[in-house]
């Protein structure tokens, strides 16, 4: 990797597009593999990206998954035009979900999405405005010493 450069890119996400859900995350995983990042980092990033991608597909009309890779960190920013999160503390609780029943029948909506993102990231920040949308910013450190 060029140590002075930021590698970045983005994927558009469409709400309700369950058939292709995960494609952005699979593409990101490929990219990180090509860049030669450590397996442990790729594993964590894959879970973070997919859960974030699913949140947009389940709850929002549309959104973006953007990534920025520098020598010391991987940053993912997921922005959506969606309903927003009324109570972020509740949303972070394992088992709390606002997903409808048919989503639960697909095996989503267990209330594990945001907690899974949190567990696999070094830093996580949520900004949300009800009726407008949500931005989730995640940082995964690439150097263990940090």
């Amino acid at each position: 990797m060029d140590f002075n450069k930021t590698t970045e890119g983005s994927f558009q996400l469409i709400g309700g597009e369950f058939t292709n859900a995960g494609e952005a995350s699979i593409e990101l995983k490929r990219k990180l593999t090509d860049l030669g990042l450590a397996q442990d980092i790729i594993k964590r990033a894959a879970v973070v990206a997919f859960e974030a991608e699913m949140n947009v597909i389940i709850h929002a009309a549309a959104g973006w998954l953007r990534y920025y890779i520098t020598p010391d960190r991987l940053k993912l920013v997921i922005t959506d035009m969606g309903p927003g999160i009324k109570d972020i503390d509740m949303a972070m609780k394992e088992g709390y979900s606002t997903a409808p029943d048919w989503i639960k029948e697909m095996g989503w909506g267990a209330g594990m999405g945001l907690p899974n993102i949190n567990k696999n990231s070094d830093r996580m920040k949520i900004d949300s405005v009800v009726g407008e949308g949500t931005t989730v910013e995640i940082i995964i450190n690439l150097n263990k010493e940090e």
């Binding site: 369950f18 859900a21 995983k29 997919f50 699913m54 697909m106 095996g107 999405g113 899974n116 567990k119």
Partner: protein
């Protein structure tokens, strides 16, 4: 245990990506909740589930799972099959229930050790 040996011993029907049968199955995970699989399965696990929609392929790919077994003779959607071929994920079906499938695989793995 190799994926192909496991499929043979349990008479699983292999639906996609037969090229992967030499790969090693290191463990197993049973769940129909996709976030649970994302959180708790490990690379090399064989995943036993009731779900048949396309998202199972993405989960298996992103978690580097050895393959997916659909129980109770459930058949994947056509789109799921197509994606499994594209993403190189081995999908298999069995007439057995989740309980029986998991039990027999567990037993096979114990014998191996």
């Amino acid at each position: 245990m190799k994926l192909g040996d496991l499929a043979g011993k349990l008479s699983l029907k292999i639906l996609s990506y037969k090229e992967d049968l030499e790969s090693e199955v290191s463990g197993g995970y049973v769940s129909d909740m996709l976030s649970d699989v994302l959180a708790n399965s490990r690379a090399g696990d064989i995943w036993i589930t009731f779900q048949t929609h396309t998202n199972i392929v993405a989960v298996a790919n992103l978690k580097n799972l050895a393959g997916v077994i659909l129980v109770n003779n459930r058949q994947p959607d056509e789109e799921t099959l197509r994606k499994a071929a594209t993403e190189k994920v081995t999908l298999m079906t069995t007439h057995m229930s989740t309980f029986e499938t998991a039990g027999r695989i567990y037993q096979l793995m114990e014998e191996k050790d």
